[in-house]
């Protein structure tokens, strides 16, 4: 199927050599990974941990293993994704720099978006900072008044000579309090329909007038922030993409956010493996391992876990086969959004009341409660189930689009009317 994906090119020559050299370097320079890699949470990312990871990133950078497939002119190495893949394969046995969710927002989402839409002058200046671990990038994307309706952003950027003044509020910015920069969606024209007046900027997190506040979540962690822009000044040279054409940038970002191009998704899992251990021991503690209802729940979860994995591989394969359509990624997201809350609820039913209390600090026993509280984030964050259903129906199944009340009218008029609705269009 190599011929079909059209991604092999001359620069992928010598991958085996490259892999061998990478392995040698890794063995000498990086500590081996202890146990399975686990993404650090916001609580794990103490200043010390962040500093250590930045140091690791700088090590990669200095050895020439940062930005392997990114363009040479911006400090990358211009090699193929096969080279990058080979390096990552080898690196999986070592402790690589890991900034939690910021790794993804920086390296998989924001910078690839910048590389697609940013001006060369900006990229030459900015990308090396990313590669050396000095610029971790978050997203200033959602707003309190625009959740599912991302194009309805109301953060205002007003031109002032060579610079822009930003005012407004963002929310759900993942780990913004630990980031160095943020990619910020603003409205630069209020007199045109909503998709046509948007512009993106790169904003330093320590910019005067920008206040970043972690949000305390119901699971008592604080992975997300709310961000207040109060006359934040941004030079026009830090604009990403053309003026008022921010929706195109947004589209790129959304595709990246749903995991486009992740190398491993299309590999079908070899088998279901063991039953979910935490639920089996939950059932055991509840004395219910022999209870047929509990057994049904265990088998349900186990089945759904595996079905989710084979579905993910199938959808990725459909993408590789060229059938990829923006609705397809919604299948994986909707599956997760549908079954994650159900899985969390089944765990509660398996464990019963005693599973929902624990002696102070017994994190393992609190896990059932936390998973239950977190469960619904899968059906909301990154696009609600409802948005995914729209995506599947309209883009994969060809249903007529939802009639729009706002996409064709000047945004300021829409805002006014939403505050004083008149009923039918």
């Amino acid at each position: 199927m190599g011929a079909l994906d059209g991604r092999s090119d001359a620069s992928s020559d010598g991958v085996d050599d490259y892999r061998r050299r990478a392995r040698a370097w890794l063995t000498t320079n990086l500590p081996p990974l202890e146990g399975a890699a686990q993404r650090p949470t916001s609580e794990d990312l103490t200043p010390e941990v962040m500093a250590a990871n930045r140091a690791l990133q700088r090590k990669l950078f200095e050895a020439g293993y940062a930005g392997i497939s990114w363009p040479k002119e911006y400090g990358g190495h211009g090699l193929s994704s096969a080279h990058e893949g080979a390096f990552l394969d080898e690196a999986s046995a070592f402790a690589m720099p890991d900034f939690g969710a910021l790794s993804a927002t920086t390296f998989d989402i924001c910078v690839p978006t910048m590389l697609t839409h940013g001006a060369p002058e900006f990229l030459r200046r900015f990308i090396p900072k990313v590669l050396s671990g000095d610029a971790l990038v978050c997203q200033f994307f959602s707003e309190p008044s625009s959740g599912s309706d991302l194009a309805g952003a109301r953060t205002r950027a007003t031109r002032d000579g060579d610079q822009w003044i930003l005012n407004g509020q963002k929310v759900w910015s993942t780990l913004a309090h630990l980031a160095d920069w943020g990619l910020c969606l603003t409205r630069t024209d209020w007199d045109v329909p909503k998709h046509r007046g948007l512009t993106w900027f790169a904003v330093p997190c320590d910019a005067p007038g920008l206040t970043i506040r972690p949000i305390r979540q119901i699971n008592e962690t604080a992975e997300f922030c709310e961000d207040f822009f109060d006359d934040v000044v941004v030079p026009d040279t830090d604009r990403i993409g053309a003026l008022n054409e921010g929706w195109a940038v947004t589209q790129t970002m959304l595709v990246l956010e749903r995991g486009a191009g992740r190398r491993d998704a299309a590999i079908p899992p070899s088998g279901p493996g063991p039953m979910p251990e935490e639920l089996v021991s939950l059932a055991q503690r509840a004395g219910r391992l022999a209870d047929p209802l509990t057994r049904q729940r265990l088998a349900r979860v186990h089945t759904t876990d595996f079905v989710g994995r084979v579905l993910t591989a199938r959808i990725a394969e459909m993408g590789r086969l060229g059938e990829l359509n923006p609705g397809l990624a919604s299948y994986v997201k909707l599956f997760r959004g549908t079954y994650t809350p159900i899985r969390a609820r089944l765990a509660v039913e398996i464990g019963g009341g005693p599973a929902m209390i624990w002696e102070g600090g017994d994190a393992k026993r609190a896990a059932t409660s936390l998973a239950y509280l977190n469960g619904r984030s899968a059906s909301i964050a990154g696009g609600t189930n409802e948005m995914q259903r729209n995506g599947i129906a309209e883009r994969a199944l060809g249903m007529p689009r939802e009639p729009s009340f706002d996409a064709h009218r000047p945004f300021n008029e829409v805002v006014r009317e939403a505050q004083n609705p008149k009923g039918t269009p």
Partner: protein, 374 residues
């Protein structure tokens, strides 16, 4: 949840609601989540002054209620309590008070009962064997030891366990059940306060390690108390269900209002069928829940022969649909419901925990089958 109230009941509802708003509104509840007891200073005494713990007790025993329908009055208060997620013992106090009142109490028990009615002391209900197959609860056994008894075993999930001075313990004794009134400070008895999913309630794990209790602590008849324990279970379930209904009602109304206010894509989100139809389904479940909860309250009040079955239906229905609704409301609120500051999670926590208490829905369904001889 009742469609019509007598004027006495309406008065009771209003005074309850006023008391809660004044003494322990949701902001206060929230402020107490990290405290040991979860209740404001003086709350229980003040609640007792309103008669909260005397409802199921005849006047001559120090109790009394407004309408003559103690169960309905208690359910009405429970519902109001659920609306503002009130902390502290209510279900447990009333179950214990009803149990003592009906048991032909000893003199000492009668004195305790009067103290309970006055809110001077707290007792909670340890169903032990009564819902033993409802969870991991291994049950508690009572073994005669001379003229005393020895209690052994554990109860994993005792509501208000950390607040109680006294426990009404149901223990297996041979083929039968016995009930004992046991002071918390008794050698061999340990009460471990637990952190929990529902941060507005307090639970404890209670262990009995050969706890020696005198004959005088036996409540009612020695043995043969399956019938009274059944009645206690009905009361616990029906009051807990009423509380859940109150919580569901407020949460649903919050969500309904939000759907009319919040706009997206240039219109109120409640104008989208996806939201509209979720709300309609939730409203249906809630209305049906109120209907079956009222039926259960009436059946328990009237001591109908099928009261136990109707209670189990209510507990199972509201237990399942309560979670459906809390999760559905979460979905409509979206991200905002994920923040600590928003009240949604407090409702989700209470509704979920109540669903698990006094028998999960499955357990009640199995019980219904048994009641029909299957």
């Amino acid at each position: 949840m009742e469609l019509t109230l007598t004027s006495d009941q309406e008065l009771l509802r209003e005074s309850t609601s006023r008391f809660i708003a004044g003494r322990c509104p949701l902001t206060t509840v929230r402020g107490l989540v990290d405290s040991h007891t979860g209740v404001p200073e003086g709350y229980l005494r003040a609640a007792a002054d309103l008669g909260w713990f005397a409802l199921m007790v005849p006047e001559e025993q120090g109790g009394g209620n407004v309408s003559g329908d103690g169960v309905r009055d208690a359910a009405l208060i429970a519902e109001e309590r659920g609306r503002a997620l009130q902390p502290g013992p209510f279900v447990s106090m009333n179950v214990v008070a009803a149990a003592l009142a009906a048991s032909g109490p000893t003199e000492a028990q009668a004195a305790l009962l009067a103290a309970l009615c006055r809110g001077e002391t707290v007792a909670t209900w340890v169903p032990g064997d009564a819902t033993a197959d409802a969870g991991a609860d291994g049950g508690i056994t009572a073994t005669p030891a001379g003229r005393d008894f020895e209690l052994s075993g554990q109860a994993d999930l005792v509501q208000d366990g950390t607040l109680a001075d006294w426990l009404l313990v149901t223990a297996g004794s041979g083929d039968d059940l016995c009930q004992f009134l046991v002071r918390v400070v008794t050698p061999g008895l340990s009460v471990v306060p637990m952190s929990g999913h529902d941060i507005t309630q307090r639970f404890a794990a209670v262990t009995f390690d050969r706890v020696r209790v005198p004959t005088g602590s036996v409540v009612g008849e020695r043995g043969g108390c399956r019938r009274v324990v059944e009645r206690q279970l009905q009361l616990a379930c029906v009051l807990s269900t009423a509380e859940t209904i109150g919580a569901m009602d407020v949460l649903f109304e919050m969500t309904r209002a939000y759907a009319t206010e919040r706009t997206a894509f240039g219109r109120a989100i409640g104008s989208f069928q996806a939201v509209k139809h979720q709300l309609a389904d939730m409203s249906l479940s809630l209305e049906a829940g109120k209907a079956i909860a009222v039926a259960a309250v009436r059946a328990v009040q009237a001591e109908q022969h099928d009261a136990g079955e109707i209670v189990s239906m209510a507990k199972a229905w509201v237990g399942d649909t309560g979670i459906d609704i809390a999760q559905g409301c979460f979905q409509i609120f979206g991200g905002i419901g994920y923040t600590w500051e928003h009240d949604l999670h407090l409702f989700l926590r209470r509704i979920t925990m109540n669903s698990l208490l006094f028998g999960q829905p499955d357990w009640h369904r199995e019980r219904i089958c048994r009641m029909h001889g299957l």
